[in-house]
Symmetry: C2
Subunit: 143 residues, 2 copies
């Protein structure tokens, strides 16, 4: 499930991995809306088809952006979570959100939340990141 790179231009590298209409929406659901399970992704507003969803989940996992583990509470399910590489895409998502909030007259982005993000994006990102400060973080470097 590898993507072949068109070039090693950094814009191209990112687009070859997440430059489609679904991958960043899935990361939005995982990172911002706390979705974890396959069936939760099928319930998003935009209606992804299940074959595309399965394909993208495998691709994102294969490229180290998502982590997939069996749910020990209910072994027929899997829990998807962002890796550090996935969480590091938050600035991409946020810059898209700010751009759309500015130019989409019909945006549903809440204005007060947008203003908070604009004033202190680092604070917003830290708050989001703190939700995932669990088992999948790399070991802290010893002092």
């Amino acid at each position: 499930m590898e993507s072949k790179n068109r070039s090693h231009c950094p814009v191209t590298y990112a687009l070859d991995l997440i430059g489609d209409k679904w991958s960043l929406l899935m990361l939005r659901d995982i990172i911002l809306f706390d979705k974890k399970y396959y069936h939760e992704f099928t319930q998003s507003l935009e209606g992804i088809s299940t074959n595309i969803l399965a394909n993208r989940l495998a691709m994102l996992e294969g490229n180290g952006i998502l982590l997939k583990v069996r749910d020990e509470q209910d072994k027929k399910r899997f829990i998807y979570s962002p890796t550090e590489k996935g969480l590091d895409l938050l600035p991409v998502i946020i810059s898209m959100v700010l751009w759309s909030a500015k130019y989409d007259a019909d945006t549903v982005a809440p204005l007060d939340e947008i203003k908070k993000i604009e004033q202190d994006p680092a604070a917003f990102m830290n708050k989001v990141r703190s939700k995932f400060s669990g088992e999948k973080m790399p070991d802290p470097v010893a002092l």
Copy 2:
């Protein structure tokens, strides 16, 4: 040449306009590499086919991201330039560049330039923007 929106989520709005493998590469060429002409886009590293190129140029123009004007020096050519809406996508491009520079072991992004952008992204964006401070900027608000 309109894109229909899947939803008015701000992530979706951005992806519906520029969430494909080519649009942001073209904006990279226009904004960062100073490309202006159709034939210059065909010469990029990644090799876009001409029908897709023509389609995307029309789409980006139709959505107010690019401006297309006839070149008065050579009337068989057109000059493409970013609108304010197009220039406002610079944060999206930059955040992708920083992410790829971090995770692509084979990136061609120059390390010293990346560090400068990381330390002061606003300064980099202003420098890039100053290249386009010409006729297509909106009139400054009267004092």
